[in-house]
């Protein structure tokens, strides 16, 4: 017998190259707005720290450090690691603990600090999330895994690179309106399409950012929600899926099988269909990933994702607004924080609190977060429902 669980509060640090902070200060920045809403440490039973890659900082036992820094050191805590899907994996773990009755109220906090190393070192560390025996020796960087998907997708569906650049233009258009974004500026289609190559066919503007930042949400069991808010956002469906470790072993590279499995499970649990979704936060670690996400989530048929892009259906006033906070591309991608940042954005959109009307989506009832780990080995899809 599970209990319903809602997101009742959230906080978000500024994303960027945060040389002024380490993980502890970033976490404090994300947690402070929650305290400012009148929620105190005493009201939180336990916490989960979403911290994907301690090798970037060298700090071990991360959840102990952060719980102590935030005044939660007497409350149980643990850390989750699932590469880039760590945020929603953490939320899933916490949901289970609250739904089961183990705890009533939990803090789920995501953080990453990636800029204490050089870009080449960061690329090196992320390449080690490939198979260390068979992939790593060949220098398959994180962008390279997605470039392998892009090459195949472009071949099978005759996709011009310009469509990918249109996704980057959209991301930057909205990132420019998000004060928390790492790179809050517009880019033109020409700039995006002609940028320096990183992992061809992907160029600089196809790639998400190496970002420092943190985001936090508080979740509560249904019998406790009213103590926190009149505007709860229910966790309506949680789907998780997985795919082969080595990218060469996937039957197809034009879709992420784990994402399709996760989406199917999430829709089933929520009892809704893709057409019911009012907004989506998708894992655009690379532009090709966003295009594939449209198809894996059922917003477009296989090979037809480009129509959403070309018709601007993914803008805030379109059929299916996607990443109107700038996404991983412009808002940034601090690995462990990303899934929680997606959750935060859905919370703010539902509450009508995104500050800029030019990126506020009207009347969001169902929001979806699609959060992919590494190149699709593990995926979490979470569907949220407005509770008022």
């Amino acid at each position: 017998m599970t209990r319903r669980v809602a997101v009742v509060a959230g906080g978000h640090s500024k994303f960027g190259k945060r040389y002024d902070a380490t993980v502890r200060e970033l976490c404090a920045e994300a947690f402070k707005p929650i305290l400012d809403e009148g929620i105190t440490q005493d009201m939180i039973d336990a916490s989960v720290l979403s911290y994907a890659a301690s090798q970037f900082t060298g700090q071990g036992a991360g959840s102990a450090l952060i719980a102590d820094y935030l005044g939660l050191h007497e409350k149980p805590h643990l850390r989750v690691e699932s590469a880039c899907t760590t945020g929603t994996a953490s939320l899933r773990a916490a949901w289970g603990m609250v739904a089961s009755g183990l705890y009533d109220v939990m803090l789920v906090l995501g953080v990453e600090q990636m800029n204490r190393v050089t870009s080449a070192q960061a690329t090196e560390l992320m390449a080690r999330a490939g198979d260390m025996r068979w992939e790593y020796p060949y220098g398959i960087s994180f962008p390279a895994f997605y470039a392998l998907m892009a090459s195949r997708y472009m071949h099978e569906y005759n996709l011009p690179h310009e469509v990918l650049s249109m996704i980057a233009v959209k991301s930057h258009h909205y990132g420019a309106q998000n004060p928390k974004a790492h790179l809050p500026r517009e880019v033109t289609l020409e700039e995006a399409n002609n940028a320096v190559p990183i992992a061809r066919p992907l160029n600089l503007y196809d790639c998400s950012l190496i970002t420092d930042g943190a985001a936090a949400v508080v979740i509560a069991a249904e019998n406790r929600v009213k103590e926190f808010t009149d505007e709860p956002v229910w966790i309506k469906g949680i789907g998780a899926g997985a795919s082969e470790m080595m990218i060469q072993d996937r039957p197809s590279l034009t879709s992420i099988p784990g994402a399709k499995r996760a989406a199917k499970a999430a829709y089933k649990m929520a009892g809704i269909e893709p057409k019911d979704i009012d907004m989506a936060e998708v894992h655009d670690c690379f532009t090709i990933a966003e295009l594939i996400a449209y198809e894996d989530l059922g917003f477009a048929e296989p090979g037809k994702g480009r129509e959403i892009v070309e018709n601007k259906e993914n803008y805030h006033d379109g059929r299916i607004p996607v990443n109107v906070d700038g996404g991983l591309k412009s808002k940034g991608h601090p690995l462990g924080a990303t899934g929680i940042s997606m959750t935060y954005e859905i919370l703010m959109q539902m509450r009508g609190q995104v500050q800029k009307p030019s990126r506020q989506i009207d009347d969001v009832h169902y929001g979806l977060a699609h959060n992919v780990g590494q190149s699709g080995q593990f995926v979490n899809v979470i569907i949220f429902e407005r509770g008022w």
């Binding site: 090196e124 992939e135 790593y136 390279a144 470039a147 190559p197 990183i198 080595m246």
Partner: protein, 139 residues
């Protein structure tokens, strides 16, 4: 007296975790033999080889993989490389698909023009330095 283990590693960036099973793979590779593995219980085959069968976790045996030509299934040209391979960039990583359907991921080292999906790749072998060896693709 036990035979001294020859120091061999796979590929350009070295993962130094070499098990006895992997060592046998590397010593065969040095003789220009690409080994796959086969489960003695269920017959499942793996390329690259796994020591344990994915289905029943039986100990697999190494057997020579006979195919030499593949088609380019997908590729990437890595311009901005991980630190360990920075001096080699740009390089082409290709997934080749053999007629049997088995695939292998390796560098194409002799391309003079842009890769084309479907092009023929020939399996070849290379000694990178006195300790590092690899399989690779030639067009």
């Amino acid at each position: 007296m036990s035979k001294e283990k020859k120091e061999l590693y796979l590929g350009y960036a070295t993962d130094k975790a070499v098990t006895p099973f992997f060592q046998r793979f590397l010593e065969a590779l040095e003789q220009e033999k690409l080994m796959m593995s086969r489960c003695p219980k269920c017959g499942a085959e793996y390329l690259p080889p796994r020591q344990h069968c994915q289905k029943d976790l039986e100990e697999c045996e190494l057997v020579e993989f006979p195919e030499r030509e593949a088609k380019l299934y997908s590729y990437v040209i890595v311009d901005f490389a991980p630190e360990s391979l920075a001096s080699r960039a740009p390089y082409v990583v290709a997934i080749g698909e053999f007629p049997s359907g088995k695939r292998l991921t390796a560098h194409i080292t002799n391309l003079m023009s842009m890769p084309e999906i479907g092009m023929t790749l020939k399996l070849a072998f290379d000694r990178i330095d006195d300790k590092k060896i690899t399989y690779k693709w030639l067009v």
